[in-house]
Symmetry: C2
Subunit: 177 residues, 2 copies
């Protein structure tokens, strides 16, 4: 049997719904009512909201932010299947947020208990990853990866091009399973 | 100017004196007086102490263990110079110890403030590292690395062969600077 391919999965906005957590912070601060659904229809995030958001981005340091993020739809089921076919590693660029490190470990243990701690990577940038496939929502991560790339759709990457886009975990399953 | 080579540095028993921390736990529990100096002269660690130590290894989960480790002699000065010549990343297999994640981040910020958070990697196994050089004290990490390897001498690797051995940071400087 050939060796399993190495598949890296990003956490925020791929496995975990960081976008909703960020919108919650944004809406509370700016007294707005944006939703991911309304923002998915336009480039408002990339043209305006994303820049405004930087002024409240320090709230991501608050204890509990990463620990309490919701799991993206169908992620658990699809990752469980991927974990059979591939050598799955979770690769999160988390070092900017020291509080997030243990929280991300706990979050994975709670929601994805079938992922062994040996297969968790918390890093600063992803240029040092050696493997076959990377699923990520950020162009900066995909563009430095040597293997196959999938861009996971998010409100901040509506205009990103050059990588195969998947809109949800069902589409990931269609491509990789 | 050619791009800088990527150099991965392990933390425990390379930058941080985990061996002394572990011996302190061992000596306190078994009422012994082993020192790294005495153990460096023989294979007692590999033949006896290492196995006994497993029974108290759970103490590495105690808060503060990794945060309070001493820095190895000359590490700060040599890593500072290496950081000029190479693209230095710190790569620690820390995921087994969730408490260690933030502690290792803090330890690096205190002792090696010139290392940017983008260049810190906390992982489970090191087979996923893509770079040019790895300095590590464990054969299991060196043996899955594609590039140049340096084995950092430690009481638990006296018998390890197959990789260029360095006994201290001055020898690292001789090889890489």
């Amino acid at each position: 049997m050939p060796e399993k391919k190495i598949l890296f999965l990003d956490m925020d906005d791929v496995m975990a719904d960081a976008g909703q957590g960020i919108l919650d912070i944004y809406n509370a601060h700016f007294k707005t009512n944006h939703t991911k659904e309304s923002l998915a229809q336009n480039t408002l995030w990339e043209e305006e909201i994303g820049a405004n958001y930087l002024s409240v981005r320090n709230q991501l340091h608050n204890p509990g932010f990463f620990r309490n993020l919701a799991v993206k739809d169908d992620a658990i089921e699809v990752v469980r299947e991927l974990n059979e076919k591939y050598n799955v590693y979770i690769a999160s660029a988390a070092m900017e947020f020291p509080n997030s490190l243990k929280e991300k470990h706990e979050w994975l243990e709670e929601h994805f208990p079938f992922i062994h701690w040996k297969n968790m990577i918390l890093c600063g940038d992803k240029s040092i990853l050696k493997g076959d496939i990377l699923i990520d929502d950020h162009l900066k991560n995909l563009s430095v990866f040597d293997g196959q790339t999938l861009l996971f759709d998010a409100i901040h990457n509506v205009k990103t091009e050059g990588h195969q886009r998947v809109h949800n975990w069902k589409e990931v399953a269609d491509v990789l399973l």
